[in-house]
Each structure stands twice: as C-alpha cells, then as structure tokens.
C-alpha cells in the first residue's frame, strides 16, 4: 500500500542503496505530505537510517533520487534538519549541552562568523523546549542517554528548519519525556513543519503519527496511519514471507520470530 500525493514535501523516486555488494534499499518510491508527523517503522537493519541518510546525502544512492520541497537538497539545506542516532557520536567530546545546541545555529552563520548573544539565546530557548535548560552548562558526557537525546533534538530545533528527519529520537528516553516530545512535534506540525521520525514501538505508532512508512529493505507501505496500520502490512514488514531479497533465515532471526516484536 503505497500512497502518493500531490505537492509532496519529500519525494523519493526509485531509490536504491547498497553498501559495497550488499543492497540495503530497493526501489523505494514514496511521497510525504507537508505538515505531517511521519513515523518510519521497520525491524533492525531494515534500512531506516540508510533511507534518511540517502535523503540527506550522507550515503550515495546507486540509482534514483530524492527531492525536498520539490528541489535538490543543496538548494534547501537551510530548511532541513537531521538528528542522527545518538550512538553515532562520541559523547566524551569536550563540550557542554549548550555548546552542542549552538551547533544548530552554525549554518545560518556561515563560514568564519562566530555565534554571538542572539545564537546563545536561541539555543537556550531550544533547550527550554526540551526541558533541558537547567543542564545547559553540563558536560555532555555527564548527561544520561535520554538527556543526550534531548540535546540532539534541541540542536535540531535551533536550526529553525521546516523539515526534520530524526533517527530514533526516543531511544533511551523515558515514557513521560517521549510524550512531551511528541507533544512538541505536534506543535511543530501544527505550524506547518514536517517531522519524520524513526520509531520502534508499533503500538504507540498508531497514536503518534499521521503518516507511516513501513520499511524492510523494500518499501512495504507509505500512507495515512489509519490506512496502513494493518496486521497484514505489519507482518509483511516485521516477518512473514518477505521477498527473495535476502536470506529468509536472516530475516526471521532479525525479527525474532515475533512479527510484533522489534
């Protein structure tokens, strides 16, 4: 079930990505509506991160292309924000939470210019939005996983973008914070921004998202949550008889035999 729409904010066309000899994404073809909260679902190794990285130009696509705001990425970098998985950086880096959030203001500054008072105020506001203002001066190595995650989200907010890609922003975050973050994303989409989130829990996915993408090396579904959150599509995503792309045993092992378990 892949639903295409008119005037999409994100358009991915026949995308294929592989690492060396191993294909990871096949023929991904989707379009997403502006102003929506989008969830990306799929088991570990399904290529969720790879899809986002390919859209953000961090991994090279073998074929296909993607467009944001109907333009090339390079034309719209100022309007797009990316939150990597928390484990992708070394949190022993000598910096405070505020230092990291300030990094979100860099692209508006351009080369050689230094962040000033205005940038600092913006960064503090963003820390406040994720309830981390009291930790502004804390060394990032001394933050908990969930707090580090919130620092990353605050950095994204400081980019003041229109379109957000977040790779597992709820990993290591407690339930009440997760709810508060969803609330925040809802406010953002109400303002017309688009927030795309890699998510793990299919039970809450139904409540959180307007639109769902289900991925397992190929695109299983992309459409309004109410229409695509079906047992059939979930089974197709997390287990069951997948196409011949990969070793079936591998897939079963990855999905842990339980189609509803990640």
């Amino acid at each position: 079930m892949i639903q295409h729409i008119e005037n999409p904010v994100v358009e991915v066309h026949d995308l294929m990505v592989s690492y060396g000899q191993n294909p990871v994404l096949w023929n991904v073809d989707l379009s997403l509506p502006a102003g929506s909260l989008v969830g990306i679902l799929g088991p570990n190794g399904a290529g969720k991160s790879t899809l986002i990285k390919a859209i953000m130009g961090l991994v090279e696509a073998n074929s296909g292309y993607s467009k944001l705001f109907d333009q090339e990425l390079n034309q719209v970098r100022n309007k797009v924000s990316y939150v990597p998985q928390r484990e992708s950086v070394d949190w022993d880096f000598p910096a405070s939470a505020l230092d990291i959030v300030m990094m979100g203001t860099y692209h508006h500054l351009g080369l050689l210019k230094r962040p000033g008072k205005k940038e600092k105020e913006l960064a503090m506001d963003c820390l406040d939005k994720v309830n981390m203002k009291n930790f502004a001066g804390r060394q990032i190595s001394e933050l908990s996983g969930g707090q580090q995650q919130r620092v990353f989200i605050a950095r994204a907010l400081a980019q003041q973008a229109e379109l957000y890609f977040m790779d597992e922003p709820f990993a290591g975050v407690d339930m009440s914070t997760e709810k508060a973050l969803i609330e925040l994303f809802r406010e953002m989409t109400a303002e017309g921004k688009t927030v795309i989130v890699v998510h793990h829990d299919i039970y809450s996915a139904g409540k959180y998202f307007d639109w769902l993408i289900m991925l397992n090396m190929h695109l299983v579904a992309s459409g309004p949550t109410a229409e695509v959150l079906t047992e059939e599509l979930l089974t197709k995503t997390y287990g069951g008889k997948l196409s011949t792309l990969a070793d079936l045993g591998e897939i079963i092992k990855k999905s842990g035999f339980n189609p509803l378990k990640d």
Binding site: F93, P94, A95
Partner: protein, 298 residues
C-alpha cells in the same frame, strides 16, 4: 643551572613548536586520528628528501611545500584506503606511513654521499643548534636564529587556523554527519587540518625531529583531556603544557647532558602519567572541590 640567551632562545622555540603541535594535535586526538598525525609526520620524510634534492637546501619554501604535498598525498591515500577499499583505518594508516617512511629512509641512505642530510637529524632533530643556526641576509645582516623565525610563523599560522575555523573544526570533529548535512565540507576541514599538521611537522623537524614531533602532537592534548571537558580550556591547558614541557625539558637535558628534544618528550610523558595516576581519584575530587567553591562564590 644557567639561564642565558641561548637557553632563552631554545626554550622559546621549543615552546612555540610545542604549542603549534598541541593545538593541532588536540583536534587529531578528538577525531581519533592521533595516529594519523604520527603517520603524516613519518610520511613527509620522502617529501623532505626530494625537496632537499631539488632545492639543495634544508631551508626554504621548497622543503615546506614538498613535505606538505607528501603529507596531503598521505592523507588522500589513507582516505582512499578506508573509504573506497574499505580497509580498516588503522591498517590504512599503517600501510601508508610505513611505505612512505621507508621510501624516505631508502632515499636518504642511497643519497647519503650526495646530500648533507643527516638521518639522525631528520629523525631526532637538534634543538640545541637553534641559537647558532642564524638567518643572515644577502647584505650580511644577522637577523637571529632561523628556526625561531620558522617557529613564530608556524605558531601564528596554527593559531590563525584554529581560531578562524574553530567552529568548523569543532562541529566536524564532534559530528561529521551533521556537519555534512548543513553543507560544511568535512573533507575540506580534514585536508586543511592534515595540511597544517604536515606543514607543522616539516617546519619543526629540524628542531625536534620527525619522530619527536609526534610526542608533541599527541601527549599534551591527551594530558589536557584528563583535566578538562571544555574544548577552549583543553586548548589552553595544552598550550600551557607545551611551554612547561619545553622549559623543564631544556633543564632536564642540561642536567643529564642529553638530547633536549628527547628530554622534552620525556617530560611530556611524565606529565601524562602523573595525570593518569591523579586522574583515578584526585582529579574528580579536585574538580568537584573547585566547582563547590565556584558555586559558593556565585
């Protein structure tokens, strides 16, 4: 124990070299590329030899450019082996630097009769000769110790590089993927840093040698990292350590009648191990005491 003009010149030159190396080395360390610095400092050897053959002089721009180029080639080679050939990064570094270093050694050995380039000098340097190696203009005016001038230029360029591109270095070191998504050329920053490391190595090899330059690239930032988790303070502590290392290294060498560069490296090592030992219990305690004091004052 003496403090004369020569001692001053040597300590000053050593300090400036140590600060230049430390500032750049701090970023290498944070990028987990300390060994790349090591690799580059060895790999520039053939560049030094070839440039020497072309220009016939150990001094001058040819040398800096020749070695700088080889440094960039080494960087490109390491990048290629890791990114395209998918070799592990430590293997790529090992292959690159041993190959280039070997070429350099072979060149020196083969051409030993033709050129006045002493292997020991290239490898270990001799900072003790700095005061007598004078820069004399064509008109015959004595301008002062040549290596000291080189160290001043090096220091100015290193500080300019780090402060002008501070934000870019910081971001691309902490989170290169994020940096790339905002359109920052992370490869550009990487080559810039490696270019500066190559240049610094060449500029200082006569004083401290191609090998001991590594000690100054790696050890002061690693020591400073045990004391602070703030990038600006890390750079400051690194610089201060550079001066202390040069000062104490000079007098240690004086006492032991040994090589100054070697003594400097030993002092650096002692600082590091003292910090490691202290770090177990004392540093957190000292730091929390200082924090409490600050909070009380605020």
């Amino acid at each position: 124990m003496s403090f004369d003009q020569n001692a001053f010149i040597i300590i000053l030159t050593g300090s400036m070299i140590a600060i230049s190396c430390g500032l750049l080395g701090a970023f290498l360390m944070l990028r987990k590329m300390a060994m790349t610095g090591d690799a580059i400092s060895h790999a520039v050897l053939p560049g030094i030899v070839i440039a020497f053959l072309i220009s016939g002089s150990r001094h001058g721009l040819t040398m800096v450019i020749g070695a700088g180029l080889v440094g960039l080639i080494a960087t490109a080679c390491i990048e290629y082996l890791t990114q395209k050939v998918k070799l592990q990064s430590d293997a790529s570094i090992g292959i690159t630097f041993t190959s280039l270093f070997a070429i350099g050694i072979i060149l020196i050995t083969f051409l030993a009769n033709q050129i006045d380039l002493d292997q020991d000098c290239v490898l270990y340097g001799e900072i003790a000769y700095v005061p007598i190696d004078l820069w004399i203009t064509k008109a015959g005016t004595i301008m002062g110790p040549r290596t000291t001038y080189l160290a001043v230029i090096n220091l100015v360029l290193a500080i300019a590089f780090v402060s002008l591109f501070y934000k870019e270095l910081k971001l691309s070191t902490f989170d290169p993927e994020f940096a790339a998504t905002i359109g920052l050329s992370t490869a550009g920053v990487n080559y810039g840093l490696m270019g500066m490391v190559s240049y610094t190595t060449v500029s200082s090899f006569e004083a401290v040698g191609a090998i001991l330059v590594v000690a100054l690239l790696v050890v002061p930032p690693a020591t400073a990292f045990l004391w602070t988790k703030n990038l600006k303070k890390l750079l400051t502590v690194t610089a201060i350590l550079g001066v202390l290392i040069s000062f104490l290294g000079y007098y240690l060498a004086y006492l032991l009648n040994s090589s100054i560069a070697g003594a400097m490296a030993s002092v650096a090592g002692v600082f590091f191990f003292v910090s490691v030992t202290l770090n177990r219990h004392q540093i957190p305690r000292i730091k929390s005491k200082m924090r409490r004091l600050r909070e009380e004052m605020a």
